[in-house]
Amino acid sequence: MMDRSSRAETLTTDGVCVYFEGVKAVDDISLSVQRNRIHGLIGPNGAGKSTLFNAVSGFVPLTAGRVSLGDADISGWSPTRISQHGVVRTFQDTRIFKALTVLENVELGAMDAGLHGNVGRAASLQVLELLRIDHLADEIAGNVALGDGRRVGIARAVATQPDFLMMDEPAAGLDEKETSELADSIKEIRDERQCGVLLVEHDMSVIFKICEEIHVMDSGRTIAVGTPDEIRTNAAVIEAYFGSGHS
């Protein structure tokens, strides 16, 4: 649909703030996601991860700051326009179209990349294979199990051929095995589609397994940025997660 001949290399936020009636949900966050890299966004409950995520994807208005895709300022754009320009998100509660089949869900994503009819179907089946749910193609999406539903939601987003894929807690509610397999899948998506990934996740095993850079938030602010090894040993992070008594 949109001209994506020149793919943006970075998705950045500059001093992004989101206040709700005086509550500083997101306070001066600057982060940068590179294409072909997986960035984790972590933090305790209420840290502001989801709000930042919603702000970048256009679902929540910015109070201050700027979101850029490459050189383009995309602050204040509608969610529709942002996704048409290659920044596509998933939802924690999947938000798959339950009345449609799994394949139809993914085909709707492919339409955003201008792929319709037979071409769209073929592209969608490829994405389903990539996510290992091609056997569910003709199931009604509302009938699939939670873990598969998450994969449908991710497949739908991947089918739009995003430059940046934003995932909101994709492993929430999954068991250990499912979580581990999902982490592998996310890596495969990045490798095959060469997109940047911004991953909000509670499950540290996923974050430390696949992220190349991690951004840690607490109470709306950045408390650490670094590689998994740096974050693992960062005192402020340990403090935020376990409280002073544990460090």
């Binding site: 994807s57 969610p79 529709t80 596509v88 938000r95 339950k98 009345a99 955003d112 539903g149 739009t160």
Partner: protein
């Protein structure tokens, strides 16, 4: 368009499964030779076109509209103005405003008049749709109802063009049972094609989950505007055919009563599926016939009792019960084709979804 073979096959199935029984029904009614039954079948099929139009927007978008009858009215008047014989026009419309005087100088054959009326209705729908489709829920209901009021007032008051509260007369009476059959077949085929191809599917996606739809680049106002324009044009087809069926009509012909009926039919049949629109019209129409008999002749063994107004009351009650007990209507919002598919592959108990 590059639609896949599977899409065309599903389209043919859905259209066939809905249209063929209607054709059979029409032929059976015709063979009885009973004029009153033929009339009932004709008007039911024409009404069904309007309901299919309503479904095309409301069913696929999940946004209620009370305006489809207003568009049926616009189309009926437009086609009438175009097709009334040229020699009758000066006496029927002596005071046409200067910018419409050209209307008195010609008349077109009825099929062409209907086509032009449908196109005009679509154009009006597109223009008023630009602001209207931005409304959802209660606001959409009130907004479309306001549009119905506006159209009704214009038709009632603009005597020079619509003959005001006097009935429209001189309209060629050409719609037959077979015209109605062709009309509903076209309406169903177009509505089925729309909801199976990209535009309609994007509108359905926005109905299922607006945020998710936006997240994959779907522009909800644009998709709604397409569905709205197409749905209103289909309702216009029904309205134009109806005008040429009854031949004399006024604004009250297309008023709140008809609006209530069409909405009740769609709700009872099942908002969300084309099958629901078709089934709803059949069920309500048969029920209404039965109730009207009671209304005028009493109930079999007690012929002395009459129940004026029972038709609307019972329909309202049924609609209420459906909304409370089975909000997805008789069909559950499913298409007839999925019923067949489900029977083929016996569904095993599946894991609970979120």
């Amino acid at each position: 368009m590059g639609q896949s073979v599977a899409t065309w096959r599903r389209w043919a199935w859905l259209t066939g499964l809905l249209v063929i029984p209607l054709i059979i029904l029409a032929v059976l009614v015709y063979l009885t030779g009973d004029i009153s039954w033929i009339q009932r079948a004709s008007s039911a099929l024409i009404l069904m076109i309007i309901v299919v139009g309503l479904h095309t927007f409301s069913g696929n978008s999940g946004v209620i509209s009370f305006a489809s009858v207003a568009f049926a009215m616009i189309a009926a008047y437009t086609s009438a103005l175009l097709t009334i014989p040229v020699e009758q026009k000066p006496s029927l419309f002596p005071d046409l405003p200067f910018f419409l005087e050209w209307l008195a100088s010609f008349s077109v054959p009825v099929p062409l008049g209907i086509l032009m009326a449908v196109a005009f209705t679509g154009l009006i729908a597109f223009i008023v749709g630009i602001p209207l489709v931005r409304l959802s829920g209660l606001a959409a209901g009130i907004g479309t109802l306001a549009f119905l009021v506006v159209v009704t007032v214009i038709v009632t008051k603009w005597k020079a063009v619509t003959r005001g509260e006097s009935t429209m007369v001189g309209v060629p009476k050409e719609t037959t049972l077979w015209w109605a059959v062709v009309g509903i077949a076209i309406a169903i085929a177009i509505a089925a094609l729309y909801q199976m191809t990209r535009r309609g599917r994007r509108l359905i996606a926005s109905r299922e989950d607006d945020k998710a739809a936006m997240s994959i680049g779907i522009s909800i106002p644009i998709e709604r505007l397409w569905g709205w324009t197409l749905g209103c044009a289909i309702a216009g087809l029904g309205g134009a055919l109806y005008g040429h069926y009854i031949a004399t009509f006024s604004a009250t012909t297309f008023g709140f009563a008809l609006t209530f009926f069409t909405v009740a039919m769609l709700v009872i049949g099942g908002l969300g599926s084309l099958t629901g629109a078709v089934v709803g019209v059949l069920v309500v129409q048969i029920l209404a016939e039965f109730l009207r008999t009671i209304e005028t002749q009493g109930l079999g063994p007690i012929p002395m009792l009459e129940f004026p107004g029972i038709t609307e009351m019972v329909l309202a009650l049924i609609m209420l019960l459906v909304l409370i007990l089975r909000p997805a209507g008789i069909t559950g919002g499913r298409e007839i084709t999925t019923w067949f598919r489900r029977r083929k592959s016996a569904p095993a108990a599946r894991g609970a979804s979120t």
